[in-house]
């Protein structure tokens, strides 16, 4: 691992850092002799963030679970074959409150409330996956 002090990193001259160099040697950044960060290739960072997010989800949610899927990343309702997005779109289409949705779909109220909270935090992901599904169907020739 290469080491770079923060003072060097703040200077105006150009550091020769490219992807190959980062792949071969992670670069440690120190401040006052103490390590404060590491430069890694961006794809490794993304992989780490995805892993970190999954771990966080597993820890945080009681009624939602991750399931392997070819392209979906959003969580599912534990014990049901239903994504959070499918629940939310049902609620929105039928103007259901969380309590009404829980009663109508025979779900624990806490599970619906947790799903709604998850949706609020991950709205971009759920909407992107709804668009992804529509695009996949359109690519197969279905009118969406």
């Amino acid at each position: 691992m290469k080491t770079l002090t923060l003072k060097e990193a703040q200077t105006s001259y150009t550091l020769t850092i490219d992807r190959n160099a980062l792949t071969q040697h992670l670069m440690l950044i120190r401040q006052d002799g103490q390590p404060i960060g590491v430069l890694v290739p961006y794809d490794e960072y993304q992989t780490f963030r995805a892993w970190q997010q999954e771990r966080k989800s597993e820890r945080t949610y009681q009624y939602l679970v991750a399931r392997p899927h070819p392209w979906r990343r959003q969580l599912y309702l534990k014990g049901r074959n239903m994504t959070v997005g499918q629940l939310i779109s049902t609620m929105q289409a039928n103007h259901l409150t969380p309590e009404e949705a829980a009663d109508d779909l025979e779900l624990p109220r806490e599970q619906v409330k947790e799903a709604v909270a998850y949706y609020e935090l991950h709205r971009d992901l759920l909407e992107a996956e709804a668009r992804e599904e529509a695009a996949r169907l359109a690519a197969k020739g279905y009118a969406v």
């Binding site: 014990g79 049901r80 074959n81 994504t83 997005g85 499918q86 779109s89 049902t90 929105q92 289409a93 039928n94 025979e106 909407e127 709804a130 668009r131 599904e133 529509a134 996949r136 169907l137 197969k140 279905y142 969406v144």
Partner: protein, 76 residues
């Protein structure tokens, strides 16, 4: 609503399929002559490609544009 107009309707809970995967629902509908109504359009399309002999799949896509959601009066 469907029952009111004479359709026989089954739901996963009554069929003992709560929490089962897509293939289990697909097989049940296939064996009992039901048409599937699902919001899981892409996954059931894949099942349709693998097992083309079934009684139909009515897929309802999630719509990110809420203004396009049908109102109950439009569905009735």
């Amino acid at each position: 609503m469907l029952v009111d107009v004479g359709y026989k309707v089954q739901i996963p809970a009554r069929a003992g399929l709560t929490g089962y995967d897509d293939l289990a629902h697909f097989r049940y509908a296939q064996e009992h002559g039901f048409t599937i109504v699902t919001k899981d359009a892409d996954d059931f399309e894949c099942l349709h490609q693998k097992h083309p002999h079934h009684n139909g799949v009515l897929a309802v896509c999630e719509e990110t544009d809420r203004s396009k959601n049908m109102q109950p009066v439009q569905l009735a």
